[in-house]
Amino acid sequence: MSSPTLPSSSGAPGSADSSAVRRNSKRPKYSKFTQQELPACKPILTPRWVISAFMLVSIVFIPIGVASLFASRDVVEIIDRYDIDCIPASNRTDKVQYIQSPGDKTCIRTLKVPKHMKHPIYVYYQLDNFYQNHRRYVKSRSDQQLRDNSSASDVGDCKPEDMINGSYIVPCGLIAWSLFNDTYSFSINSSQNLTVNKKGISWKSDREHKFGKDVYPKNFQSGGLIGGATLDPSIPLSEQEALIVWMRTAALPTFRKLYGKIEQDLEENDTIRVTLGNYYNTYSFNGKKKLVLSTTSWLGGKNDFLGIAYLTVGGLCFFLAMAFTIVYLVKPRQLGDPSYLSWNRNPGWH
């Protein structure tokens, strides 16, 4: 049974089995695996290998870094922080009181386009110091309820924004409740209206699978405590794209969310007038609000990080390769000389 797999080259014990051993059925099967003799490649870290590896990495990384930086620099970005400026000077001592009081909070901002911006231009709002990833916040939602009309009662995780006067809130939970409600409208060169397309800003998969077409807001923001924006109860959730975007919680306390898209090019030195409704309260926790207009590149938005990181690592690898080469040339070392073995050199371990 075992003998056919036994190659003649299997070494010393193989020769013995012809005679005495046949009777023993316990005799283990021969295979390269059971004998731990699988052919193996045993690379070692030779200077040549390591130095060329580092060279290779630096050769690959530095161009990538340069390309990434160029991509990032190509992106034109207009950032406008408005959270303080949009509060009348008289109210700046108590911003929270101002933002919580009713009344018209319209605010006009003027932006200048520094460079030609190709469409589509994305309009983001950026919040700083806003912890969408806080454990209490991030859990406070009901995916079931958002997806399915019949699961309106599935509000177990939504406390304390789960019910109002005995009826369920749809969409429930803190995330929906705190929906961002500043509004922006744009006009270009003080006359032309600049349309902002708010359709298609959310993920298609969310619209189709996460938010139900037949789920309509119910009892939303009808309690005593109003969080953020209200929703039109006649529009199904799958079309409430601002909500869908907001519900994709951010992992970092500084994040941008898409507000809309401008589907036309902006020329250099164009002036954009933004009429914004400053309603959202970031003042109680010293959060910042920014309006961002940005084009995009193959790498995404303006972010120098990858480019710098690639250049740094590439440079470092180049430096290491150089250093190793120099050390290798200055102090060559014969690998694999048995005389280096400590027991061949002197008794006792160093």
Binding site: A16, A20, V21, K26, R27, P28, T34, Q35, Q36, L38, P39, A40, C41, K42, L45, P47, V50, F54, F61, I64, S68, Y124, F130, Q132, N133, H134, R135, R136, Y137, V138, P160, E161, L174, S205, H209, G227, A250, A251, L252, P253, T254, R256, W298, G300, N303, F305, L306, A309, Y310, G314, F324, V327, L335, G336, P338, Y340, L341, S342, W343, P347
Partner: protein, 1106 residues
């Protein structure tokens, strides 16, 4: 507490004592689940995981789905429970077999066949020859008119020789028929585990009234699992049954052995646990502070103003759960898995199959392979372990003539053959004694070929040799011995057999020549038991010389002698002998005394020399293992002289002038103490010199040293790399193991016989040689091998690889768990220290169970250096012995690496995916894939040899990660729906992975390269040497490595010529039969004299052998 046994009473004692059902089972069907769970939960790790799992049920604090802990936990529990259940089922089957065996007992005065489990206390049980006793019996009768029977107690105490048992005096001579009706009461102690003691009384009831209370001892019992031998039948009354027998009481699962590696892993786990607690406390406090200051301002979080009382605990507990992955739940499963694979590799190894018998090596204990690589002391038995235990008659000295000195084989010695041819009377007598003075039983097969059944290998060798010299023992029929010499048949009538005892060290036969009616006394025995009793006037000097010469060669010597007895003398003596044999008090002593009366005035015929050949490859094996820094102790029941010779011939100790032997001896406390101190002093002085110092101690001195001078002896044990302990009992062997273990050394005990069982069980690793003395040692051992030489491969290849692999695997397991845990901790700093988990439940569970455990499992195939290289440079084992690959400092390295990688992954992920891309699921996936990439490359970097399986596992796993996640991303209801598709389409994702790889691995590679090239360890140097091609031969002679406490190696100078009492007292306390029935060899006299002259010859002989 006493128990009263009513003999043959069918009613009364039935319900008082338990029945004879043997049960080794740990569980029943009903209690399996609770009991097994209870046992599993008595382990700290499991308690920890259970606590975590329970905490996760509290949804307020759980960061992830409870299934992420419950799933693996239940899986792990199920695996070990299944294993336990399977083992227990097998125990049940073997119990069942024993319980349902049929035995004859007496019920209501009639003999009946019942199942063994139905025996009750008080039943009379009948045994036939070769039956196994089903319970502890007190003998009532045997087929022997003198009330004797023979039993074999191998299963009980491992001694293979037969022991005699006698019927108590009160029952002596009762007719077998009447035994059915016997009634009486036995008063005996409550069950205990002492197999050498049974103090009870017997009183028979009418009609067997014997007014006296008859005392019973262990000599009157047959204990459970003993076999009845050489006796037609015996019957006895059951006194202890079932699990209350002496055997049952001393049974008990052997303590599970914990390897040094396991202990280290436990220690590291404890350290990580403490680290975790600290982290949790710091984060918990920080979290609460943050909550009370910052989070209150964050209106969107809607913290209630008044929380319940436990509010303060919530955040710390959340962090506890978040950090619980720091201790990898998979490590136990992974370790169990790889350990059983190590064991399988041992079982499968073709290079460890004994070519002669085809016995493969076997690992009974699958959990301790790593320890093999960390062995520091090997304690080895001699006979059958180092030697083949195949005795071959080599030389003899007949009436002053040495035979076989030239050819090394007396059977081919021309002079001897001529002498036989010519019928020299001395030679004929010599051969006659060789052939018949023994207890060998010839068995004639149908073809007429004669085979011999001998209990002693020496006797076997003598009879075989005699047969080759034409003196054939043909038949042994009752009292008639038939031998054939050159075609003529000679008959002898055996009048008496004076059996071998280790006190007398000789055995004799009184025979009558059937032709002429002459009566002879034939004796063979140890020289010191024969030569001093030679007939005055006979020249014995040549015999003494012969004995000395032979034992210098490591041969076992026996002296043969005879004496013609006058008929009167015999008859007079035989009366005394009969009386002594039937005496009730001190029988043994009286028999010995009577024997003494006839065993004197011998005419010494000659000396035989029997070779117990060294097994193949023993010297190389010992040499290699000693170079590997392993210390050898030889523990043998044999004589000092023989032991030293064998030790010399197998490189155990080096010959002069490199080596030095120090002797510890003495008969009294003070003598031993003095000698011990002298040896210690010498040891300390020579410890700086490159000398190979070994000490020699015999059983008697050892007993004293261990009892009274334990501390000094322990110091000695630590100083000495080599020791020879002769004449030691099984329990002393175990004590020595215990002693070394108490000094924190890893010990390996290797032996082949029943007398090694104790030592094997005691040692950290027990290795049994499945040899000629049966399988007891092999069965009791953790590993069994066919030949001693396989030990080299077992330790250097299997042990070393196992250790290396486990060291990597366990540290790696911590590395990957810490990596993901650090990321979670970092993330909590940007999520308001609220305990949010960056990763979702599925990822967390799969990370530990699938993504990271498969690549590392194939590290069981990793070899840092080739097998041949290890064999050539056994010194490399030092790294395992000293635990260089798994200790707090290597672990700190891995800890630092995981911290570094966590920083790299986290920092790059959150910066590359900032602003509009900072979507939770995406960032989490980016970080997770970063971890997977890094861990794949870490495994790749740490792998020394890539086989196809490694490539498959490492890169296949990376691929599988994407496939699994793409599949998960295709499920609409899952949290990560479409995430992976999105990511894979973004160039920035792949660029992020690449930069994580570059930034994470670059420094690691640079550091490793630097160490490897400029601060290489010996392992690295060997790797380089091996792979730069060409055979790597060591330069010059290799200086064995010694630890600082040890002395370097080298042979045998004699410090103290000593005058020793030529009459060697019988050794050792309890059982005179306990040492192996080796008929003594060698002289007890100054073995140090003329040693040096002989050394060269023994050395070269030994070289030939190899």
């Amino acid at each position: 507490m006493k128990r009263y046994v009513d003999i043959n009473d069918d009613e009364s004692s039935y319900d008082v004592y338990c029945d004879n059902r043997i049960s080794n089972r740990k569980y029943t069907i009903l209690n399996f689940l609770p009991k097994n769970l209870w046992e599993q939960f008595s382990r700290f790790m499991n308690q920890y995981f259970l606590l975590i799992a329970c905490l996760q049920l509290w949804s307020l604090i759980t960061p992830v789905n409870p299934a992420s802990t419950w799933g693996p936990l239940i899986f792990i529990f199920a695996v070990s429970a299944t294993k336990e259940a399977w083992d227990d089922y097998n125990r049940y089957l073997s119990d069942k077999k024993a319980n349902e065996r049929e035995v004859w007992i007496v019920r209501h005065g009639v003999k009946k066949l019942i199942q063994a489990q139905d025996i009750r206390v008080g039943n009379i049980v009948w045994l036939r020859e070769n039956d196994e006793a089903p319970c502890d019996l007190v003998l009532l009768g045997t087929s022997d008119p003198q009330g004797l029977c023979y039993i074999e107690t191998a299963a009980l105490d491992g001694e293979t020789d037969l022991k005699t048992r006698v019927v108590p005096s009160a029952c002596m001579g009762i007719d077998p028929e009447l035994l059915h009706k016997i009634k009486g009461v036995i008063e005996c102690p409550s069950p205990d585990r002492d197999i050498r003691r049974f103090d009870a009384n017997l009183r028979l009831l009418p009609p067997f009234l014997d007014n006296d209370v008859c005392p019973l001892t262990i000599k009157n019992t047959i204990l459970q699992t003993c076999y009845l031998r050489n006796t037609e039948w015996a019957c006895g009354v059951a006194v202890y049954t079932g699990n209350e027998t002496k055997m049952g009481m001393s049974r008990g699962a052997p303590e599970p052995k914990l390897t040094a590696v396991d202990a280290m892993i436990d220690k590291l786990t404890g350290a990580i646990f403490i680290f975790q607690i600290v982290v949790v406390m710091v984060l918990g406090i920080a979290g609460n502070v943050w909550k009370d200051t910052e989070a209150r301002k964050q209106w969107y979080v809607l913290y209630p103003h008044e929380g319940p009382w436990y509010e303060l605990l919530v955040i710390p507990l959340r962090f506890e759960l978040l950090c619980s992955i720091m201790i990898p739940i998979s490590i136990k499963v992974s370790l169990d898995l790889v350990k059983s694979l190590y064991a399988k590799f041992i079982d499968w190894d073709q290079k460890m199959i004994d070519g002669e018998t085809g016995t493969p090596a076997h690992a009974t204990n699958t959990a301790i392979s790593e320890d093999l690589g960390q062995v520091e002391y090997i304690l080895t038995d001699k006979t059958g372990t180092l030697t083949e235990n195949k005795m071959i008659f080599r030389r003899c000295c007949i009436s002053g003539k040495f035979h076989g000195n030239e050819s090394g084989d007396a059977l081919k010695d021309v002079e001897l053959l001529n002498a036989i041819e010519s019928g020299s009377p001395d030679v004929i007598r010599f051969l006659t004694v060789m052939a018949i003075c023994n207890t060998v039983i010839p068995v004639q097969s149908k073809t007429g070929a004669i085979s011999y059944k001998a209990q002693s290998q020496d006797e076997d060798a003598l009879v075989h040799a005699a047969a080759k010299l034409h003196m054939v023992l043909v038949n042994r029929n009752a009292n008639i011995l038939e031998i054939k010499f050159d075609g003529t048949v000679i008959h002898y009538e055996v009048l008496e057999t004076l059996e071998f005892t280790s006190d007398r060290k000789r055995m004799s036969l009184v025979v009558k020549d059937c032709e002429n009616g002459k009566i002879f006394l034939l004796t063979k025995g140890a020289d010191e038991a024969i030569i001093p009793y030679a007939i005055p006037g006979q020249q014995t000097r040549t015999f003494v010389e012969a004995v000395e010469q032979y034992s210098q060669l490591g041969l076992r010597t026996l002296c043969l002698a005879w004496r013609e007895l006058m008929a009167d003398e015999y008859y007079e003596w035989s009366l005394a002998f009969k009386e002594a044999s039937s005496s009730l008090v001190d029988r043994e002593w009286r028999i010995a005394e009577v024997c003494q009366r006839i065993e004197h005035d011998f005419q010494v015929l000659g000396v035989t020399a029997i070779e117990d050949r060294l097994q193949d490859g023993v010297p190389e094996t010992i040499e290699t293992l000693r170079r590997a820094g392993i210390n050898f102790w030889m523990l043998t029941g044999d004589k000092q002289n023989t032991a030293i010779q064998i030790a010399l011939s197998c490189n155990f100790i080096s010959p002069e002038p490199k080596g030095q032997l120090l002797l510890i001896d003495g008969k009294t406390k003070d003598e031993v103490c003095r000698s011990l101190e002298r040896v210690l002093l010498t040891m300390r002085i020579t410890s700086s010199e490159p000398k190979d110092v070994a000490f020699v101690v015999d059983g008697w001195a050892l007993e004293i040293a261990l009892t009274y001078h334990r501390k000094a002896f322990t110091d000695l044990a630590i100083l000495s790399r080599t020791a020879i302990c002769c004449r030691v009992t099984p329990s002393q062997k175990a004590q020595l193991v215990q002693l070394l273990k108490s000094c924190d050394y890893r010990t390996l005990a290797i032996g082949d016989g029943g007398n090694d069982v104790k030592m094997i069980q005691q040692a950290d690793i027990g290795v049994g040689i499945s040899g000629r003395e049966g399988l007891q040692a092999a069965r009791a051992a953790d590993y069994s091998i066919g030949k001693f030489r396989f030990l080299k491969r077992l330790i250097l290849v299997h042990g070393r690889y196992s250790y290396n692999r486990t060291a990597f695997l366990s540290q790696y397991s911590f590395y990957k768990s810490l990596l993901i845990c650090f990321i979670q901790i970092f993330f909590s700093f940007i999520s308001g220290i609220s305990g949010t988990s960056l990763f979702n439940s599925v990822s967390l569970m799969a990370y530990n169970v699938f993504y990271t455990s498969i690549p590392v499992l194939v590290s069981v195939l990793d070899k840092d250096v080739g097998e041949e290289t290890v064999m050539q440079h056994p010194q490399i084992l030092f790294y395992c012995q000293a635990g260089r690959l798994l200790n707090p400092s290597t672990f700190a390295g891995w800890f630092g690496r995981s911290l570094f990688h966590a920083v790299v992954v986290f920092a790059i992920s959150i910066h590359a995916y900032a602003f509009e891309k900072s979507e939770m699921e995406e960032v989490s996936m980016v970080a997770l894939s970063g971890c997977i990439w890094l861990q794949a490359f870490v495994v790749a970097l740490e792998t020394n040899s890539f086989t196809i399986l490694q490539h498959l596992a490492i890169w296949g796993n990376l691929l599988a990660f994407y496939i699994i996640n793409l599949m998960l991303s295709a499920i609409p209801s899952s949290g990560m729906y479409t995430i992976m598709f999105r990511l894979c389409r973004q160039p920035s994702y792949w660029l992020t992975m690449l930069i994580i790889f570059g930034a994470g691995m670059g420094p690691i590679l640079a550091l490793k390269y630097f160490r490897y090239t400029y601060r290489p360890s010996q392992i690295n140097k060997l790797q380089q040497a091996e792979r730069m091609g060409g055979p790597i031969l060591s330069l010059g002679n290799i200086e064995p490595q010694a630890r600082s406490t040890e002395i370097a190696v080298s042979p045998l100078s004699i410090t103290q010529p000593k005058n020793r009492n030529p009459v060697y007292e019988p050794l050792l306390s309890d059982s005179p039969n306990s040492t192996r029935k080796s008929l003594g060899t060698g002289t007890p006299f100054d073995f140090f004299q003329s040693q040096t002259t002989r050394l060269s010859s023994s050395y070269s002989r030994n070289c030939k052998d190899n």
